[in-house]
């Protein structure tokens, strides 16, 4: 089956081409079938690949496709690398992607550009697959850039609205800033080690004599900058909440399950590098934790469903980076998987709610929707329980693993653990605030909206149900050490990535930690219930106001970065461009014109004058030739 690996990215590419070229002519149902069918095909092949990888004695395979760059000493072939990490990501991308495609057939049914939408979605999946399948950093980068492009296309899908296109531009530009860091990192790798392929690079790191730590630090930090752009960490995270301007399935697929996890994938893949750069690992953990906390504080006070979920995504990504920073690479991947399930579920559920509310996204206008939309309510509840880390659900296992390993990395001063618990508590609070305000209580919207409320069609609820099931059972592949000796996921991934080995905790400590986190989560759920019993939407002041306004980060960026840049551009435009370059070009013309005006005087029109000048010329010529000959 592995030899059919090229089908995995090829099918979505074909889907993109068919839908993309014929989007005006292909009927909507056909477009949907083509889109979903392509991803389903990829999913089936990915399953086959996964099972083949899972057989014992499997070694990482490189599948070469064609020569890509071959110039002098530089040789970068186009190859795919099949190992545990890439096959797992393949399953996540194609599986969750397929469910979201099915969801979109119903959600986008009334949109006239639906077939175009499916072509973009297929293109996105194609690039994402390229990203995880690549055997060297260059192919990863191609996929990296490609998903950035598709993100832009899909965020600004309803292009007639100026705000949406601005959000798309913002996402793309912030991604680009990160990409610069990534590119610099890649060039440094190429320069120092002469290769970009994973196997050669990691072998080099392992075998070759140790370079000064600063080399590894610089490469690692540059790659990390790329990850902050793509995975929405501080300082490049402000694009993600604005990206909610796109259709909800887009938010589910791109900004919850797949694209934003590309940064995690990249760092997990480069785990050998980060092990040699402990300073940068600490920075990664610190930024991840800070992002988790700050994003959670903002989410506490948001009134748009999708914005709450967006900040929640940023916060959960922070958790993943925390895990990466402390060296628990497989834990981060575990959380990627479970997060994909429950975050996609939450987004799709919110899409169902928005659909029922006729496009309304403001919490303050909702309430009591659970009566009319039971399936959505139950699946949403499952998602909230999963994200809060309630035992039994998927999120508990992955989140608890992160927290306990955070504790284990520094048992004597467990500030990472404490702050992590704080962020987790805030997570429970804002998620359940969202749940209660939306699905319980009394309806606060308009009369027509109340009439319009209905449960969503099957194509929407089926993915919700499937994802809900996955949000429950998905965590059992990674049982903590106290319950089971065998951590299925970690051993599966161990062929590809290795964690730092100092995560050993005593059994009793681990039980205590689990209990603490569970109790904290439950406490916040109850507190959220009481806080939202009588919803108070008065205008906020002080700290709450700052949280509501996202700590004014966007405004700060605008003042510090955007405005000076624009004024410099304006300056250059006037002085360098208009007066300088245009001046020179126009000046040439003006000089020629001036010269011509002076020369024009010679053309008197009188033949006698012409002959006179001719005679003078002849005299001059003869004298000169005469003198020269002499």
């Amino acid at each position: 089956m592995i030899h059919y690996i090229f089908l995995i990215p090829l099918l979505p590419l074909i889907g993109f081409l068919i839908n993309g070229i014929g989007w005006r002519t292909i009927p909507k149902n056909m477009g949907g079938i083509i889109g979903c069918g392509a991803i389903l095909g990829s999913f089936i092949v990915s399953l086959g690949v996964f099972f083949e990888v899972n057989t014992p004695g499997f070694h990482t395979q490189i599948i070469p496709l064609f020569d890509f760059i071959k110039s002098g000493k530089l040789n970068i072939p186009f190859e795919f690398q099949i190992d545990a990490l890439s096959s797992l990501f393949l399953l996540i991308i194609t599986g969750v992607g397929f469910l979201i495609h099915v969801y979109s057939t119903s959600y986008m049914h009334h949109d006239e550009g639906m077939v175009k939408y499916f072509s973009f979605l297929n293109l996105f999946v194609f690039f994402m697959l390229l990203l995880v399948l690549g055997a060297n950093y260059l192919i990863l980068f191609i996929g990296w850039e490609g998903v950035g492009l598709c993100s832009y296309l899909l965020i600004g899908f309803w292009f007639k609205n100026r705000d949406y296109t601005n959000a798309a531009k913002k996402a793309f530009i912030m991604n680009r800033i990160g990409d610069l860091g990534f590119l610099v990192g890649m060039l440094m790798i190429l320069y120092t080690f002469g290769t970009l392929s994973y196997q050669d690079f990691f072998k080099n790191l392992h075998d070759a004599p140790k370079l000064p730590a600063s080399t590894y630090n610089w490469i690692a930090i540059c790659l990390f900058i790329g990850a902050t752009g793509k995975s929405a960490q501080i300082p490049l995270y402000t694009w993600l909440p604005d990206a909610m301007a796109g259709p909800t399935p887009v938010s589910a697929l791109i900004h919850a399950a797949t694209m934003v996890t590309a940064g995690i994938y990249m760092i997990a893949r480069s785990c050998a590098l980060y092990e040699l750069a402990p300073l940068v690992s600490n920075i990664v953990a610190a930024i991840g934790l800070a992002t988790a906390i700050i994003a959670a504080t903002i989410a506490l006070k948001q009134y748009d469903i999708k914005k709450v979920l967006a900040y929640s995504t940023v916060s959960q990504l922070g958790f993943m980076f925390l895990a990466l920073g402390i060296g628990a690479y497989s834990t981060a991947v575990f959380h990627v998987m479970t997060h994909a399930f429950f975050k996609a579920l939450l987004f799709l559920g919110s899409g169902s709610v928005i659909h029922a509310m006729g496009g309304e996204q403001d919490l303050r206008k909702m309430g009591g929707l659970g009566k009319k939309m039971p399936i959505t309510k139950i699946t949403f509840l499952i998602g909230c329980l999963a994200i809060s880390g309630i035992p039994g659900f998927a999120g508990f296992f992955s989140k608890d693993e992160i927290l306990s390993r955070a504790f284990a990395s520094n048992p004597t001063s467990p500030y990472l653990f404490v702050m992590g618990i704080g962020a987790a508590m805030m997570t429970s609070f804002y998620m359940f605030r969202l749940y209660y305000l939306t699905f319980t209580g009394s309806f606060r919207g308009t009369h027509e909206q109340e009439h319009h409320l209905h449960e969503s069609p099957f194509a929407i609820t089926l993915p919700l149900i499937i994802l809900a099931v996955l949000s429950i059972v998905g965590g059992y592949v990674g049982l903590p050490g106290v319950i089971s000796e065998h951590h299925a996921l970690e051993s599966f991934l161990s062929t590809a990535i290795t964690n730092r080995s100092k995560f050993h905790l005593e059994e009793s400590t681990e039980w205590i930690l689990m209990t603490v986190s569970t109790l904290a989560a439950v406490f916040m759920i109850v507190y959220a219930y009481t806080a939202t019993k009588k919803p108070n939407f008065a205008p906020t002041t002080g700290l709450a106001k700052m949280m509501e306004n996202k700590w004014y980060v966007d405004e700060i960026y605008n003042a510090i970065i955007v405005k000076p840049l624009q004024s410099i551009s304006g300056l250059l435009d006037t002085w360098a461009d208009k007066k300088g370059i245009d001046g020179i070009v126009n000046g040439v013309g003006k000089t020629v014109k001036w010269g011509g005006d002076r020369m024009r005087v010679l053309q008197t029109g009188q033949v006698g004058f012409y002959i006179f000048i001719m005679v003078i010329g002849m005299i001059a010529l003869f004298s000169i030739s005469f003198l020269l000959v002499k």
Binding site: Q603, T604, Q606, V607, G608, I611, F612, V615
Partner: protein, 103 residues
Amino acid sequence: MPVTSSNYLILSLLLFSIGIMGTLIRRNAIIIFMCIELMLNAVNLLLVHFSHLNGDVDADSQIFVFFIMVVAAAEVAVGLAIIAMMYRKVHSVDVNILNRLKH
């Protein structure tokens, strides 16, 4: 003092220079034209002298003179036609007035 080659040279150059002076001094277009013919003849003279100098070998110069005359004839025909037409327009052959080239 025997006549040498330089005599003919000086004669031809003199005639040529007189022709040039004539074109520069006179204002009547037709007189200027005639001075041009004078210049051509000066050249013809020199060419014939060279042919005579080189003896039996060089008859090409005389052929060349012949063709100069041919061209001069054609040129005079067309040139005078032009001057006649200008006269019809401006009723003068003063070269200072015939300055339409200026525009």
